[in-house]
Symmetry: C2
Subunit: 241 residues, 2 copies
């Protein structure tokens, strides 16, 4: 399945959020990772200008947010609900780490809708809320200070969902046009000629000089423009000698 379609089948559910700024931060975090469906269970303050400000360019996510009265309403129609929990507590089922849970969540979108549920900033999810969710999820964190804020937790989970849903493709490398084989060989020929001409290189006593030169320039994968610069420099030096 297309990764964007998978992400579109995942809703982020925030229950009983106290601070509207965190709702805005969550919307922004979602959109940066390509998620757009936000469900709010009894938010204390919403809509609110503070949420709008923190959402920055993700106002559309806030405007499309559904506000509902109960977590059960928010989970209607889902086949998997993941519950983010920070505390180690008695759990009815084994918790998954964030990365593993994201893989399962994305896989589950092929059979239906998925929810990720985040509790109140201070108290987290209640036991009743947790019981409605099939899969407790934890973000690996420093045991001495695991106090991720709500926006940060949403950001990390949405990032893992995107990583699970999308092959990110090649890392960007928008440098110049690579030099062709012929251009690189033309440079080596030019260089060898200049080395011989200057007396630096004696073809009858080569000392593995050219293989060493090739190895050195081979490692940097020359670009066309760079070959031009190097050959220009060679020509200038040749004129001088």
């Amino acid at each position: 399945m297309n990764g964007a379609v998978a992400l579109d089948r995942i809703r982020i559910v925030l229950t009983r959020t106290s601070h509207p700024g965190n709702i805005g931060a969550a919307a922004r975090a979602m959109k940066t990772m390509g998620l757009g469906r936000l469900v709010l269970v009894r938010p204390e303050v919403f809509p609110d200008p503070v949420a709008d400000a923190r959402a920055s360019g993700a106002l559309d996510v806030l405007e499309g947010a559904k506000v509902v009265d109960s977590l059960a309403d928010a989970l209607g129609g889902t086949v998997l609900a993941c519950a983010l929990t920070a505390r180690r507590r008695e759990l009815a089922v084994p918790a998954r780490w964030a990365r593993e849970a994201a893989l399962e969540a994305v896989a589950s979108t092929s059979v239906g809708e998925v929810a990720l549920v985040f509790g109140n900033e201070t108290s987290g999810l209640s036991n009743e809320e947790l019981a409605l969710c099939g899969m407790p999820v934890m973000v690996p964190a420093n045991p001495a200070y695991s106090s991720l804020n709500l926006g940060a937790a949403v950001q990390l989970m949405c990032y893992e969902l995107r990583m699970a849903a999308m092959a990110p493709g090649d890392a960007p490398y928008l440098a110049g046009q690579p030099a062709s084989f012929d251009e690189v060989e033309g440079f080596f020929g030019h260089l060898e000629h200049a080395m011989i001409d200057s007396g630096f290189h004696d073809p009858d006593n080569p000392r593995r000089l050219m293989p060493r030169i090739r190895r050195m320039f081979g490692r940097i994968r020359l670009e066309r423009e760079e070959v031009g610069i190097l050959r220009g420099l060679l020509s200038a030096l040749e004129k001088k000698t």
Copy 2:
């Protein structure tokens, strides 16, 4: 090498940060993932109560932060500097995705210190700053809206560093004590007796009833307390019939 030692060899460098709140958010994000070394290159406002407030329980990271005059000063003694960049631009060397870069950064801590460098909130890193860093790094994001805020970018990178440095161990499952073989068998014996006694189960015409029962309860991996509850229920039902 110990994962915590690896994380201790990685410094987070923020250059020309405009908003003190973002410095505080970065400190909090670092500490949640077990990083503690923060270097600030010409911050606009620091120290500041807004930074302290956003740092929450990570005040120690702010208090230990080094403030320096130039990125070169911040990178002194490092063997690898990763530069976070959001824009696709002409890069001297190929960029890595966050996850791959985190693996390389952690691996490099075995030979020396490592820096992750984050630019100004609005303008990012300058070309001069980027040129001082060996490895451009990008966080995979929604191409239509890749506007991660500074705290979120630091959070994601520190999370990936922690994931690269630490085997997270088993996912937490602090449920009750699992029932022993004997306890589970005791339950099955009790159940079979009750089924026969009630006339529900005829051992001479078993219809694969017991294997089905075993399969069902086997999937639950009963806990000691649960066996107690089930047997108590059985006893109560037996008395009634």
